[in-house]
């Protein structure tokens, strides 16, 4: 195998060595990073924060998405929300494991994606399942946007959290990983707060607003509550493509557009060595 002229030097190590060898893993660092969809923006629409509010929150946001179709290409992922909280609570009471909770929670994010899809259908925007992602570039070129449910397709293979039974990688993480694998231009989370605070602003009126922070600093603060799943921060810290993620208030008209246009609205969490 060593004199195989077709394989690269790294290829020879991969074929003949152990993949758990730390030196082989390290050697894969020195390969190029190709950006698959560098012009796409991943926009995550919150479940509890946006979809559960119904028409009052969703209609204006849909209008804003439509008004951006000519300028920006978007992968729209949806969160789950209050029905996921109900079924997690019920499933935990029934003694079901984390993987089953993920299967159940995925159905709720799927319902929200379907509803958003019905509202955008007349603009030719398709809903795509994880298995259909390879047709996505075509839809993005032709129609500027696609809708997917935000949950990563881990199903029964979801991993246990450190504590408790809530699946640790949910719709924030699923959308983030889409942005990372395609090397997206932006990762924007649309929620119902202006951004990140030192505590939950719905419960603690004395909490302070954080407009911009590095992921390393934020992890070091070890806040009790956050605007985003902790797995997103963990993955952002070691990401190769995504340099920053942005959180905007979807209840305020114009914030999503501003973020798509590159303005520093809401909160930006960046990784060190990332874009300033």
């Amino acid at each position: 195998m060593d004199d195989n002229p077709i394989l690269t030097a790294l290829g020879k190590r991969l074929v003949s060595g152990s993949l758990s060898d730390a030196a082989v893993m390290q050697a894969t660092e020195a390969t190029p990073n190709y950006s698959i969809l560098p012009w796409v923006n991943v926009v995550k629409i919150g479940g509890q924060s946006i979809m559960d509010r119904g028409r009052e929150a969703v209609y204006p946001l849909v209008e804003e998405i439509v008004s951006n179709l000519g300028q920006h290409k978007m992968i729209l992922g949806t969160g789950a929300g209050t029905r996921a909280r109900h079924i997690y609570s019920l499933a935990i009471d029934l003694g079901l494991p984390v993987g089953v909770l993920t299967v159940l929670g995925t159905a709720v994010a799927w319902q929200n994606a379907q509803m958003l899809h019905y509202l955008l259908a007349q603009h030719g925007i398709p809903f795509i399942e994880p298995e259909g992602f390879n047709t996505m570039p075509h839809y993005l070129m032709e129609r500027s946007a696609v809708i997917c449910q935000g949950m990563p397709p881990y199903k029964l293979w979801e991993q246990n959290p450190d504590k408790g039974r809530i699946p640790p990688q949910r719709t924030d993480t699923g959308c983030f990983l889409i942005a990372e694998v395609f090397a997206a231009r932006k990762m924007i989370f649309v929620k119902d707060e202006d951004g990140l605070y030192t505590a939950d602003p719905k419960k603690d009126p004395k909490c302070e607003y954080i407009p911009r922070i590095s992921v390393e600093e934020l992890l070091a603060l070890d806040l009790n509550d956050l605007i985003v799943e902790r797995a997103v921060l963990e993955f952002l810290a070691r990401a190769r493509n995504v340099k920053e993620i942005q959180f905007v208030n979807g209840l305020k008209r114009g914030q999503l557009t501003a973020a798509l246009n590159g303005e520093p609205v809401g909160t930006i969490i960046y990784r060190n060595g990332g874009a300033q």
């Binding site: 290829g11 074929v15 152990s18 758990s20 060898d21 730390a22 893993m25 050697a27 894969t28 660092e29 390969t31 990073n33 190709y34 698959i36 509890q48 509010r53 119904g54 009052e56 929150a57 209050t82 029905r83 909280r85 109900h86 997690y88 609570s89 935990i92 029934l94 003694g95 494991p97 984390v98 993987g99 994880p130 992602f133 990563p152 397709p153 881990y154 199903k155 029964l156 293979w157 991993q159 246990n160 450190d162 408790g164 039974r165 949910r170 990983l177 990372e180 694998v181 119902d192 939950d200 009790n224 509550d225 956050l226 985003v228 799943e229 902790r230 993955f235 070691r238 990401a239 190769r240």
Partner: protein
């Protein structure tokens, strides 16, 4: 059952309006887990270690699986081997990201799993893709004599970015572990081409000693540079709720699988 608060329409539940990121909320989401398939044994057949060796290694192992069918219910996860190493090599050279590599590699394990299912078909084993594992595994086990599945978890483009390098951290060992964990399986046995876990790589260092039993946490601390299983499995084990131990046995030695299924001390036992 539904209630309007803060502009959103909520469904009443113990988690209503709660932040699922709040540590205090997370801490109270515990309960006793009910095993879903407690009599099933998950057998993971290595791609590189067994399948790539062809008939001489695989046929006797499959005969042993068939011989154990009357006593033990088995689902068989299959790994990818040298073809995954090759597609990693080409993919990395092209600059493709981890999620793309994971999607490519999963096809190699699917090919291997499909071959195993063909060889076991006359004994009533079926091949199940991930969606069918979710929907049909219990029904298939009631109707069929066993099942073969792709060991690589269906993470695809959503594979986690690794801490170092670009290789997908969750291969078929991690996938088989997660299947055993979620179903609350009776046992999880990894079939490899070494007698178990050694203090160093036995192929490179003849002085390496076999470790008959160890905990995942101890093993993580030892930082052995090459392991016969994926390092991600050890991390998963530290959070195990149901799959509290795994056994690694040498599938090239006839009788090892039978002994492992019978609960005998063979190979290496890693405890959570």
């Amino acid at each position: 059952m539904s209630t309007q608060q803060g502009g959103a329409q909520h469904v009443q539940s113990s988690l209503m309006r709660e932040s699922l990121v709040d540590k205090n909320v997370i801490a109270r989401t515990e309960s006793q887990i009910v095993p879903i398939l407690p009599d099933v044994n998950v057998i993971q057949i290595g791609g590189r270690s067994i399948i790539d060796r062809g008939s001489s290694a695989l046929k006797p192992l499959l005969d042993e699986i068939v011989a154990n069918q009357p006593r033990h219910r088995m689902v068989i996860g299959v790994g990818s081997g040298v073809r995954s190493r090759h597609v990693y090599s080409v993919g990395l050279d092209l600059g493709l990201p981890t999620g793309a590599l994971a999607t490519l590699s999963a096809k190699d394990a699917a090919q291997n799993a499909y071959m195993v299912s063909c060889l076991l078909a006359q004994h009533g084993f079926v091949y199940l893709e991930a969606p069918f594992v979710v929907q049909l595994l219990p029904a298939m086990l009631a109707a069929a004599r066993g099942a073969v599945f792709n060991g690589i978890p269906p993470y695809a483009l959503w594979e986690h970015p690794p801490a170092v390098g670009k290789l997908p951290p969750h291969g078929s060992d991690a996938g088989s572990f997660l299947v055993a964990e979620v179903f609350g399986a009776r046992s999880l046995i990894f079939i490899k081409d070494v007698d178990g876990l050694y203090t160093a790589d036995p192929k490179a260092n003849p002085q390496a000693e076999l470790i008959p039993e160890i905990t995942a946490a101890e093993l993580l601390q030892r930082e052995i540079s090459t392991l016969p299983i994926e390092p991600s499995v050890l991390k998963l084990m530290t959070h195990a709720r149901q799959a509290k131990s795994i056994r690694i046995v040498n599938g090239l030695i006839h009788g090892n699988l039978t002994r492992a299924l019978a609960g005998e001390n063979v190979g290496t036992l890693i405890r959570a």
